[in-house]
Symmetry: C2
Amino acid sequence: MGLNAADAALASKLPQGVLREVTPAYLEEPRGRYQGHAGLIAAPRDLEEAAAIVRACSAAHVAIVPHGGGTGLVGGQLMPDGPAPLVLSLERMNAVRRVYDDESVMVAESGVTLQQARDAASEAGRQFPLSLASQGTAQIGGILSTNAGGVNVLRYGNARALCLGIEAVLPSGEILRDLKRLRKDNTGYDLRDLLIGAEGTLGVITAASLALAPIPAETGVAMMVVEDPAAALRLLAMAQSRMAGSVTAFELIAGQGLEFLAEHFPQMRQPFDPIPQWQVLIEVGLPAGLGAQDALEGLFVAGAEAGLVSDGVIAQSGQQVTDFWNLREHIPLANRAVGAIASHDISLPLSEIPAFINDSRAMLAEQGDMRINCFGHLGDGNLHYNLYPAAGRQRGDYDDQRHALSRMVHEMVVERGGSFSAEHGVGRLKVEDLARWGDPGRLSAIRSIKAALDPKGIMNPGVILPR
Amino acid sequence: MGLNAADAALASKLPQGVLREVTPAYLEEPRGRYQGHAGLIAAPRDLEEAAAIVRACSAAHVAIVPHGGGTGLVGGQLMPDGPAPLVLSLERMNAVRRVYDDESVMVAESGVTLQQARDAASEAGRQFPLSLASQGTAQIGGILSTNAGGVNVLRYGNARALCLGIEAVLPSGEILRDLKRLRKDNTGYDLRDLLIGAEGTLGVITAASLALAPIPAETGVAMMVVEDPAAALRLLAMAQSRMAGSVTAFELIAGQGLEFLAEHFPQMRQPFDPIPQWQVLIEVGLPAGLGAQDALEGLFVAGAEAGLVSDGVIAQSGQQVTDFWNLREHIPLANRAVGAIASHDISLPLSEIPAFINDSRAMLAEQGDMRINCFGHLGDGNLHYNLYPAAGRQRGDYDDQRHALSRMVHEMVVERGGSFSAEHGVGRLKVEDLARWGDPGRLSAIRSIKAALDPKGIMNPGVILPR
C-alpha cells in the first residue's frame, strides 16, 4: 500500500501484523448516506494490541474510528471528512472466551457477531435474548456501543441491561478491566453504562460479560387485529397483567406496511383478509405447565370481551411461529422496495402514542400527499415512523420537503416527551438534532465528560458531539 | 441558631425558608460508626430551590452532603470531619408527582420514601418491585444514589434497572432535566446511570421516573432444605429454567442464622426441626392459570429427585407467606443482638460461591474460634458474610483482629472476581478498599469524571474517592 509519510510513521509504531488493507467494506454504511475514508485500518488480535494501537494514535494525534459489523444506521462507524483516521476493526477479537453455564454468563470479545453469541448461548441451554434483523453481521462491540435494542427489549431490556461488565481501552490508551460476572457491584461510578451507548467516543470496548437468560419452557406467538393504537396499548397492559411480565414481544403493524408487503412480496401469506388497519404480533415465553396457546387464547377472549380485539390467529406450530415473524421482518424489506421519503426511529411515553399517531397524520396531511408506515416495538414505545411517496409519485418529488418533514416529526415527538433516536443512536446523522433538542444540562455534562476522558478528541470525533 | 460568620454569609444567599435546625438526626448513621457535623441544613421545596442552594455553596466553596432517609450503611450520608458542610435534605421534595397508570411509570421526588412509592404503585394496580428492610425510612433519592438492591433484584434488577429518567442538580448548579418516561432513548451518554450509584458525589438527584411492574397473578413462597450452597445453586438454576425467569427471590439462609434466631427470638416458629445447616427461601410470581403452589410443588419434587432438596414447606396462606418472610427479615435483627465482629456485603460470580464458602471457613478457622453467618440474596451472588464471637466470648475480644479479618475476607472475594461492596456502596467506609482493589483504569476514569463535573470538589467530598 502507498502510505503518506504521517500514516507510514504511525504504522511503524503499531504492533506487528495488525494492519489490514484499506478496502471499501470498512468505509460504507447500509444506507449509503456517508462515504468514509481512512489512512490505516488496524485489527488487533488481543487487548494489549488494541491498547498499543490507541496509545500510538494518541501520541500521533490521529483519530480512531472503532469498527464492528458496520450495520449502524446513523453513520457512527465511519468518518467522511477531516484528516484521515485509523479505523480500528474488532474483527479478529472474535472469541467467545467462555460460557459459564452455571452462572448464565458468557464472556465474549467485541468482534463476535450477535448470531454467534446467540448460538453459543443456545449450545449451553440458555438464550442471549437480544434479537435484531442484522444479527448475522452486527458485532457485540457495536451492539454495546450503540446500546442496540430489537424485538425483545420489552422483556429483557436493551443491550445495556444484558451486560454485566466490560473490558475496554480508554482514549488515553489505559485499559479498563471491568469484566465482572456479578449481578451486584456498587463500587464507584458506573463506567460500563457510560461506555455503553457512547458510540465509540469514550473508548473502544474489546470484550464484555453478558447475562444469559433461561429459555422459556413454553413459547407462543399470535397475531391479533385491533381497532387502533389505543386498543393495542390496552391489550398490551392486559397481556402484561395476565402474564406477569412474560410478554417477550409486542409489535405494532400498520395496514400500510402490510399493503407494501402484499405489493412487493405477494407470495407471503397474510393472516387476515382484508388487510386490517392495525394488527399486533404478540410473543410470550411462559413457565412450564402453562400452555402458551391456552394463554394466548385466554388473552384473545379477554381482549375480545373488552372490545379491544376483533380477530386473531395463534401459531399452531413452530413453522407458523417462523411465518409470523417472517411477516414482521419483511416489512422493512418491503419498505425499502417502496423507498422512504424519510424514516424516523422515535420513542414516546406509551400514553402519548395514540394522540401522536393521530396528530402527526393530520399535520403531515397538510404538507402534501404521502403515505405513512408506522410500526415497531409498541411495548417499548418505540416506533419506526416512515414517510413514503403517494401512489404514483417518486421519492425525488419530495426532495425539497424531506428535511422540513423530519424536523416536524421530531418536534412533535420531543414536545410529547419522546426521543428522536430510540435505538439507533446519534452517530453523525443526528448530531444537530441532539444539539437542538438535548437538555442544556445534559449537553454540558456530556461535553465535560468527553473532554475529561478524551482531551485530545481522538475517539470517533464528530459522533454524538460536533467536531 | 448561632451561626459563624461564614455560615451566616452563606445562609443569606439561600432561598427564603429553606434552613432547618441542625439536629442530631441529620448527623448520625445506623451503625454509629461516624458522627457527622454541619454548618447549615437546608431543605429545598423544589428543583429551583435545590439548584439555588447548590449554586450558593459552589460560589462559597462550601461542601454539600445530600441527605435522604439516612439509612445508608457506609457513611455516605454525613461528613465527620473537615470544614463544616451544608447538609442538603430532600425531605420536603416528597411528592409523588404523578402515576401514569397506562404507562406503568411513576414520577416521584427524591424525598418520597420507598414505602410511599410502593404504596402509590399498589394503588395504581402495579408494583414498584424494590424491597428493603429500611423501606419505611429510605428515600428514593438515596435509593438511586446508592443503587440499592434488596430481595427482588433477581427478577427486577437493582434500583438502576427501575429508573427511566432523573432530574438532578449538577455540582455547578446547572439543572439536568432528563425525567423521561421512555424505555428506549439512545441520544448521548447515559448520565442517568452515572448519577445512579455515584452516592451524591456528582450531583443531587431531585426526582426520578420509575418503572412499575405488573403484579403477578399468582405468587407463592417456599422454604426448602438443601445439602449445601452448591445444591442451592443447582436448585436455583432448575427453578429459573422451569419458571422462565419468574423466580422473584431466592435467599440462602445458614443454620447459624437460624440458631441466632432461635436464641434471640424464641417465639418465632421455624419450619424445620432440627435446624438444617442450609435452607433457601424461594418466591415466585407467575402468570394467571398456573398455580404457584403447584409450581413450587413441582420444583420440590424435581429437586428431590435430583438429590438437591431433602425437605420443604410451601406457604398455604398469605399469613404463612408473611411468616416465612418475617423469619428471613428477623435474621439481621438476631445478628444485631449477637453483635458482629465484622460484617461484609460481598458478591461473587455464582459458580465461585460454594468454594468461597468452604475456603473462607477454613481460612477463618486458622484465625481463631468464631461463628460465621453467611446468608443473603443467593440468586444475585450477593452474600452477607458476617463473623461473630464464639459462644461465650465477646465482640471486644476480637478488636485487634477485626481489621485483618475483613481484609482477608475481602481479599478472597476479590481474588475470585467478586465485589467488596455488592449493594451498600463505597461511602466513606470503603474508600480505602476501592483504592486498594479498584482497577487502575477504572479509578483513573472515576477521578477524571469527578474532576470534570465537580472541579471544586464540593459534592459529598470524601465519599467514593478520598478527599
